[in-house]
Amino acid sequence: MATRQTLVRYGLKPTVFVLCLLPLLRQGWLAYTGNLGANPIGELTNETGVWSLRLLLVTLAITPLRRLTGWGWLVSARRMLGLYAFAYGMLHLAVYWGLNQYFDLSLIAGDLKRPYIFAGYLALLFMVLLAATSTDAMVRRLGRRWQKLHRLVYAVAILGVLHYLLLVKIDFLPPLGYGAALAALLGWRLWAWQIAPRWGVLLRRGEPVTPTRLAGHR
């Protein structure tokens, strides 16, 4: 019988690897066949950015999914998902630098004053830190600090949604949709990690459950 380790190694991980590659392959194929539409660079810029955000949200969905389904093995895919979010983010940056600003440093620097650009850079910078400390060796070396550092992923996601929200012309629905998904993912953590445990404590003690007590005030 296959062990969980073999299933993860030869089943889960290759599957996730290929699935995450599909959006890139699709864009590549559309580009190659000249089917990216009238504004192919604009299309590539948007798609790489949106897929970075999507995969980041999928990464953040792993923990709630594990808890809700009991499928502990899901966590084995989390690092790869996070690294893919990072990779699409870097592609997004490369398309922006190369095909939108043509590596013109004055243009790139001039754009920094724009709030949506700044938010994007900050998100990418944090993602670089997270990717650089994603190896097993770094996890061991940083110990407890690793977990603290990797809470930056919440900031990355918030900045990603903000970046999107600040740049749209009028159609706020897509960025608000991603924002709602993020709010749900973060809200679940607040509930499961902060509020629900205290609720349990209060109930066991037979004390009244009030908002202030749930928030941890006495």
Partner: protein, 320 residues
């Protein structure tokens, strides 16, 4: 990447100006309507045969505008598939995909407000008094992309003169059809429907300002604002309102749809201006659709010699 392999239709095949003008002359001789369409379909390498979309009826233009640019035309396919027309949806391909729901015939255009000769006209009667001309204009979208489009139309000034505006007419307001059955996008409150736009009277009377009924020598496709749209080439594209049903002469400066939507970003004038960014992105450069590299955006979209005097003494950073 895409640079190595352009779309299967070479731009030269569908945009060559000489070919399209020759065909125009040929068709002018052959006559518009059925005979013309049949001839167009029979000629090899022509638009209607190669682009795979419905051929529109031909329009014979009687003259060339003196303002025509010599720049390379944006391919018909791009002009008719990459559109901002939120009445069909906010996606760039939504208008081309959903445009069949718009029925541009019959169509009534109402001219009213502060004028001596108001009226409601069937579209045919509205257009009939005017000779159609070819107008090849640059088109600059506020989203920092641009095209070169060969419009067919006539100066708005001719319509204004016919309506005989009174002294109270300081501005002209335009309104798009409100009909969620024809415009599925109007079922969603993305903008405050119906779409309205406005021009100051001197802008409206300017010889560059056009009422277009066609492009590329054919009747306007629905996604481009059929059957009647405004073209104001020195202003951002959203000023060039589509599918017009009402032209009103008013005394007060109208509040346009985009001014209402995001007043900090969109002003009444919305002249193309590389030095003023009221939107989150830069307006200094634009991507000409079909080109790899961006190009510098010109003040008034390159029509400064014709229109700069209209704004003498105004602070265009404030009056954006």
């Amino acid at each position: 990447m895409y640079i190595g392999k352009p779309s299967d239709i070479k731009p030269s095949e569908i945009t060559d100006r000489k070919v399209y003008q020759q065909r125009r002359r040929f068709l002018g001789v052959a006559g518009v309507s059925a005979a013309g369409l049949a001839a167009a379909a029979a000629l090899p390498g022509l638009l209607s045969a190669s682009r795979g979309v419905h051929a529109q009826a031909r329009l014979a233009a009687a003259y060339q505008s003196p303002f025509n640019t010599k720049e390379a035309l944006t391919p018909y396919k791009d002009v008719t598939t990459y559109n901002n027309f939120y009445e069909f949806g906010v996606g760039k391909s939504d208008p081309a995909e959903l445009a069949a729901s718009l029925k541009p015939h019959p169509w009534t255009v109402t001219v009213d407000g502060a004028c001596a000769s108001p009226g409601a006209y069937h579209l045919e009667d509205f257009i009939k008094p005017h000779a159609l001309g070819d107008y090849v204009y640059r088109h600059r979208c506020v989203e920092a992309w641009s095209m070169v489009i060969p419009w067919v139309g006539f100066p708005l000034a001719e319509v204004i003169k016919r309506a005989r505006p009174t002294g109270a007419a300081k501005f002209v307001q335009f309104t798009t059809l409100l009909d969620p059955k024809m415009f599925p996008g109007q079922r969603f409150p993305v903008l405050d429907w119906p779409y309205t736009e406005g021009l100051r009277m001197d802008e409206a009377l300017h010889p560059l300002t056009l009422l277009a009924v066609g492009l590329y020598g054919e009747v306007l496709p629905n996604q481009n604002g059929a059957p009647l749209r405004l073209v104001v080439p020195w202003k951002y594209g959203f000023k060039s309102i589509k599918s017009i049903v009402r032209i009103s002469f008013v005394e007060q400066q109208p509040i346009t749809t985009w001014m209402r939507a995001v007043p900090s970003r969109y002003g009444f004038y919305s002249n193309v201006n590389p030095d003023v960014d009221t939107v989150p992105w830069s307006q200094r450069y634009e991507r000409r659709i079909g080109n790899l590299f961006k190009q510098k955006t010109l003040m008034f979209n390159g029509y400064g010699a014709q229109v700069a005097h209209l704004y003498a003494g105004m602070n265009l950073a404030k009056d954006y």
